[in-house]
């Protein structure tokens, strides 16, 4: 990918995973360098953007930090549709969050963009003594499903930047510069006309 040095593009990245796995904490650690011991539940989805310089390009990541609660599940496609990358997060101290992560992987494989760069993040790796999900098991699963895998800790910042930078490096370079706004506008216009019907 010998592209020119000042090549820059936008990419949409979505974080998925069970509630309480630390999606928001990962993003906040990455974007703001912060960590809160008691991070409040995300409502709907929170939007962040962060620009990264990788070796040959500048990537502006538009990050969707989605809420893990069940009630928002049906909205997930809204966020992962058109995404260039996804991080599926589980909590190494909770096996059910790993099971949930596998479901997300399946869903993305079925519904998502086939070229999507997908990462599996075993978060809270600082909680080694409470570990329920063995690293090898997750590693094997990731390899079978062609995901790249890292164990992270938003609390100690372990691998947090690494996983985001790794995603940025793996993003296909030739991607046409996305113009989500333009695309969105047309959709919205259609939806709006429906709206005016329903509220009258």
């Amino acid at each position: 990918m010998a592209t020119i040095g000042n090549n820059s593009f936008n990419a949409k990245l979505v974080l998925l995973g069970d509630m309480g796995t630390g999606k928001s904490s990962l993003v906040l650690r990455f974007v703001k360098g912060q960590f809160l011991e008691f991070q409040e539940s995300t409502i709907g989805a929170a939007f962040f953007s962060q620009t990264l310089a990788v070796s040959d390009a500048t990537v502006k990541l538009e990050i969707w930090d989605t809420a893990g609660q069940e009630r928002y599940h049906s909205l997930a496609p809204m966020y992962y549709r058109g995404a260039a990358a996804a991080i599926i997060v589980y909590d190494i101290s909770r096996m059910e969050s790993f099971e949930r992560a596998k479901k997300w992987v399946q869903e993305l494989q079925k519904q998502g963009n086939p070229d999507m760069v997908t990462a599996l993040a075993g978060n809270k790796c600082d909680l080694e003594d409470k570990r329920m999900v063995p690293t090898e098991e997750a590693q094997t699963y990731a390899e079978e499903n062609r995901l790249f895998f890292m164990e992270t800790s938003a609390k100690t910042a372990t691998n947090v930047n690494d996983i985001f930078y790794e995603i940025a490096r793996r993003l296909p370079r030739a991607q046409p510069a996305q113009q989500p706004a333009g695309m969105v506008l047309s959709d919205r216009a259609a939806a709006r006309s429906q709206a005016s019907v329903c509220c009258s």
Partner: protein, 684 residues
Amino acid sequence: MDFDGVFADPNPQLPDPPPDADPSQVDQISSLTLEDAGDAASDEPTAGNESPPTNFHSERNPDFGNTNRDADPSPAEQMSSLTSENPGDAAGCERPAGNGSLHANFYVGSNSHHPDPKPEAPSRVEQISSLTLDSSDAAGAKRSASNGPLPSDFYLAADEIEIVEEVSPVAGDTAGISALGGHGAWREGSELDGEAPPSPSSSGYAGERGSSGASSGIEEVDGPGTLPDDWSRGKRHFDEDDGSLSWRKRKKHYFILSHSGKPIFSRYGDEHRLAGFSATLQAIISFVESSGDHIKYIRAGNHQVVFLVKGPIYLVCISCTEESYDTLKRQVELIYGQMLLILTKSVNRCFERNPKFDMTPLLKGTDAVFSSLIHAFSWNPATFLHAYTCLPLTYATRQAAGAILQDVADSGVLFALLMCKHKVVSLVGAQKASLHPDDMLLLSNFIMASESFRTSESFSPICLPRYNPMVFLYAYVHFLDVMDTYLVLLSTASDSFYHLKDCRIRIENVLVKSNVLSEVQRSMLDGGLHVEDVPLDSSRRSRSLPPQLAADNTIPEFSLSPAITGGPSGLWHFIYRSINLDQYVSSEFSSPISNPSQRKRLFRAYQRLYASMHDKGTGPHKTQFRRDEDFVLLCWITQDFELYAAFDPLAEKAQAIKTCNRVCQWVRDLENEIFLFGASPFSW
């Protein structure tokens, strides 16, 4: 259109709260339908052998819909076991001791007439400023003699804990009962002797009962809008269940459960551990429904259990705060509305598919939202006034904000709101779209209580139950740089995020350039209306004074000394609600009501005043003057506005009336700054 004019009538109609719910009266009422209620009450838990059909018709008949009875010991026991299983412990306090005259009044019937022994009881609406002041203070400590002697220990306990918090006007009633039956310990006093008193930091608890002294009370004090971290974090006392003494002593419980009896939400304790309790509530509701009727509430001693059935969702409030049935019902309705805001009414479909559907996972992470709403029931007038309030701003500033919001609304945004805490800076709706004040209350509560909105831009589905309970709208929420000021843009399109984000950037630019944000900040620092600023210029007003009151004008005083303790004539606080605008303005708390418990007491007093003025049975009323040991309360309702004012308990009536006129005039003079005009999509 003057206050005095209204008062010219020498005998303003009394809202006639039935006096103390004295046993004789209750007996009388109950004798009407004693049998039905007897069946209802005693059959309820077993429900098996005695089938209701025999009573079926009479139960359905609206005239007999309200059954009410003076329960004899056995049903009374059942009633009490309702609110508290396990009558053995707690020093037997929740058990009707012996021949205790616990009134378990079973009220069923969906018609509006209910012989509620109104909690209004002790404080009386008075005509002449009398010197005997009946108290409506929950402590009941200084209760006037008419309510019968208080047990001395109760007295002490009350003193110590300073129950002042919970203004329960019926305290007289219950105090009487406790004196007779000796089980008054259920009340506030009993909260003292709990095992392992809940940690003082747990304000959901401390706030509501206000018994842990000043330190914990502080957090719930700080006036409208402040969300002390403590309780906004979500539910407290997660380790409790209905077996815990502390749980049973809570003054106010709220529950959401499904029609199959599955718990969905409980204010205190772990829902899953309350399954049995939930099932009991469900059994009561379905028992009454099986006879073709609807249960509205149960009164058991000083506890009131209010039921609300919304399709497959049941809501229940159990309270010993002596708020009126209407007030509690309104609160439960708001809780239901808050739930709809998160889930929409289409959640009902889950129950159609599977009646045993477990809804708790759907509400995960929203405890803080409900806690904060429940907290608002004791400070936010919007919870009972059906109105919203604006941040005071100059007309030009609000216009500038409105203009840019309108711009955005024209580009396909359904609603655009700029708010500061629970106060509106400006708001605009698309053509024909109207936003109900309740929706605004629920929306701002949802946003203010969810910390996550503050971290960045958010995009979330929400439902405005009064707008359309079936559909989700998509809310773009962004907190601006000024503290607690946020912009909400609502759209019907799920993919409108980028558009709304662009809109926000445009709006924010304009707001910064036109200094709206700095004005907002200044207004926040200045606060709202201060009673001390009510104009003293009596010459202007005197023109409108009717002759018999004009005489008072000759008294030149009341300018200096009262100003030290509030506004003119001992005015401490007021709320003015503009009926056409669906907006209210409330003064800042003046020094005489600076302390949290006083504020809460005033709030409850307003609530009662509102309820009595709008009582469907006896009202609506135009004026009310009420004096008790805490306040003189004056309420005046016209076609255009409602004024609620609180004065020093020693305030003179004539002066108070005069001051109210001034307040009204003052508010009208300031209306361009304290209300939102024009952009209002509310009346169309």
